[in-house]
C-alpha cells in the first residue's frame, strides 16, 4: 500500500514530538498530527525550572527549541484534526472527515483537555446524544436537534445538519461571529442537563429548556475512548503498561493522556518509549513476513 505509514502520532505536545523524533531516527515512515505551535499548554507556560539543561526557561522558548529540532530533522506537522481512529486489525484507519490515513501503528499523545460531561450526557449516549453530527444527522431527518458547539468547526456541522433536521438549535460556548444558516436558532445560554426516557426528550438550560430528539456535543477534544473505539481507559486516562502499550495491538499512548504527573520530561520519556516499542513491533512484523 502506497500510503501506509509505519507510525501515526496524534498530538504535537512534548510526548508526540519526542515520539516523532525517536521514530524518525529509526528510519520509520511517520506522520505527526498536531498544530504549528505544538501545544498551547507548553508554550503558554511562564517559567520552567525542572527541564534538564534549560533552567529558568519559558514555555515559548522550549517550544521554539522543539520546533527547531523538528525542522532540523524535516519532520512536518499535519494540521488536520483526527475525528476517529479505527483499529482494523492489521492497520489503523485515521479519519479526518471523509479522508482516511492508514498506519500500521498509532501513538496517542493527545493530552488531557477534555471537559466534564453534562448531566445526562453519558446516560443518553447512543440514545439521542452523539459527538459526530455529520455521522448521525440523517437519523434525525425532520426532527429537532440541539448542537452544543465549542469551536468554529462545529458551525459547519450545524449547517449540514440544518438541511435535514426540522430545526437546529445552536448553543455556542464561545463568543464571536457565528457563520450559521438563517434557519438555525442560536441560543446563548448555558446547557445544564439532558433529559428523556428511552430517548432524549429535552435539553435543559440555565434559563429555559428546549424539546429536542438529539443533542450533539462538539468539543475541542474527543475523549480517548470516543476517538479510538475499543480503547481501555481509566476515567480520564488511557490505560498503558510500562511499554506504553494500550489494550489494542499496535496502539500506544504517552504523555498527560496516560496519567500523572503532568510534566514535560515524563511526557517526552514516554513518547520515546512508545516510539521505540512501536519500532520493535514493526521490525518484528517485517521479520515474520
Amino acid at each position: 500500500m502506497d500510503d501506509l505509514y509505519d507510525i501515526a502520532i496524534v498530538g504535537s505536545g512534548p510526548a508526540g514530538v519526542s515520539a516523532a523524533v525517536n521514530a524518525k531516527i529509526r528510519n520509520k515512515k511517520i506522520i505527526l498530527f498536531g498544530n504549528n505551535d505544538l501545544s498551547s499548554k507548553l508554550n503558554l507556560a511562564p517559567k520552567i525550572d525542572n527541564y534538564l539543561g534549560y533552567y529558568n526557561v519559558t514555555g515559548r522558548e522550549l517550544t521554539d527549541k522543539f520546533i527547531e529540532h523538528l525542522n532540523s530533522m524535516n519532520i512536518e506537522i499535519s494540521k488536520e484534526r483526527i475525528n476517529n481512529i479505527y483499529a482494523m486489525g492489521d492497520y489503523f484507519s485515521l479519519m479526518v472527515n471523509d479522508k482516511e490515513y492508514k498506519a500500521t501503528t498509532v501513538i496517542l499523545a493527545t493530552g488531557v483537555l477534555f471537559g466534564k460531561p453534562f448531566k445526562g450526557e453519558v446516560e443518553f449516549l447512543g440514545r439521542g446524544v452523539g459527538y459526530c453530527a455529520t455521522c448521525d444527522a440523517p437519523l434525525y431527518k425532520g426532527r429537532p436537534v440541539a448542537i452544543i458547539g465549542y469551536n468554529k468547526e462545529a458551525e459547519e456541522e450545524a449547517n449540514y445538519v440544518s438541511e435535514l433536521a426540522s430545526i437546529v438549535y445552536y448553543i455556542p460556548t464561545y463568543k464571536g461571529e457565528y457563520e450559521l444558516k438563517e434557519n438555525i436558532e442560536i441560543i446563548k445560554d448555558k446547557p445544564l442537563e439532558i433529559v428523556g426516557d428511552l430517548q432524549v426528550k429535552k435539553l435543559l438550560l440555565a434559563n429555559g429548556e428546549i424539546e429536542v430528539d438529539g443533542v450533539f456535543i462538539l468539543r475541542d477534544n474527543v475523549a480517548p475512548e470516543q476517538l479510538v473505539p475499543g480503547l481501555e481507559v481509566d476515567e480520564n486516562h488511557i490505560k498503558v503498561n510500562r511499554d506504553m502499550k494500550t489494550n489494542i495491538q499496535g496502539c500506544y499512548a504517552a504523555g498527560d493522556v496516560v496519567g500523572k504527573p503532568y510534566q514535560y520530561m515524563k511526557a517526552m520519556g514516554e513518547g520515546q518509549v512508545a516510539a521505540l516499542n512501536a519500532v520493535r513491533y514493526l521490525d518484528n512484523l517485517a521479520t515474520n513476513k
Binding site: N84, G89, L125, G126, G130, P138, L139, P229, G230
Partner: protein
C-alpha cells in the same frame, strides 16, 4: 457470508437455530464502513456457529424503528427469536469476537 436483509425478509432470515448478528448500517455512515469488513471477516471465520446479516436502515425504516436504532452502526444479537444484546458503534475485531462468544 453476510446476507443483506430487508423489512420484508427480516423475520424469516432471523429465525435460526444459531444466534444471528444483525448489523444496522447506512451508506453515509463512516464507522459503518469500517465495521463492514470486520463483520465479513467474522462471517467467514465464525459462519458455522453464528449467522451474520446486515440491514440498510435508510431502505428499511420499519425494522430500524422496531428495534429503536438511534445511532449507527448498531449490532444486535438474536438468539431463539429474542434480542439478547446490542452493541453501539465500531468495535475492533477482538472486542467483537469476545462479545459474540458470550452468546454461543
Amino acid at each position: 457470508m453476510v446476507k443483506q436483509i430487508t423489512d420484508a425478509t427480516f423475520n424469516e432470515e432471523t429465525n435460526s437455530d444459531v444466534p444471528v448478528v444483525v448489523d444496522f448500517w447506512a451508506p453515509w455512515c463512516g464507522p459503518c464502513k469500517m465495521l463492514g469488513p470486520l463483520i465479513e471477516e467474522l462471517a467467514s471465520e465464525m459462519g458455522d456457529k453464528v449467522k451474520f446479516a446486515k440491514i440498510n436502515v435508510d431502505e428499511n425504516p420499519i425494522t430500524a424503528n422496531t428495534f429503536r436504532v438511534a445511532s449507527i452502526p448498531t449490532l444486535i444479537i438474536i438468539k431463539d427469536g429474542k434480542v439478547v444484546d446490542q452493541s453501539l458503534g465500531f468495535k475492533p475485531k477482538p472486542a467483537l469476537v469476545a462479545w459474540i462468544q458470550k452468546y454461543l
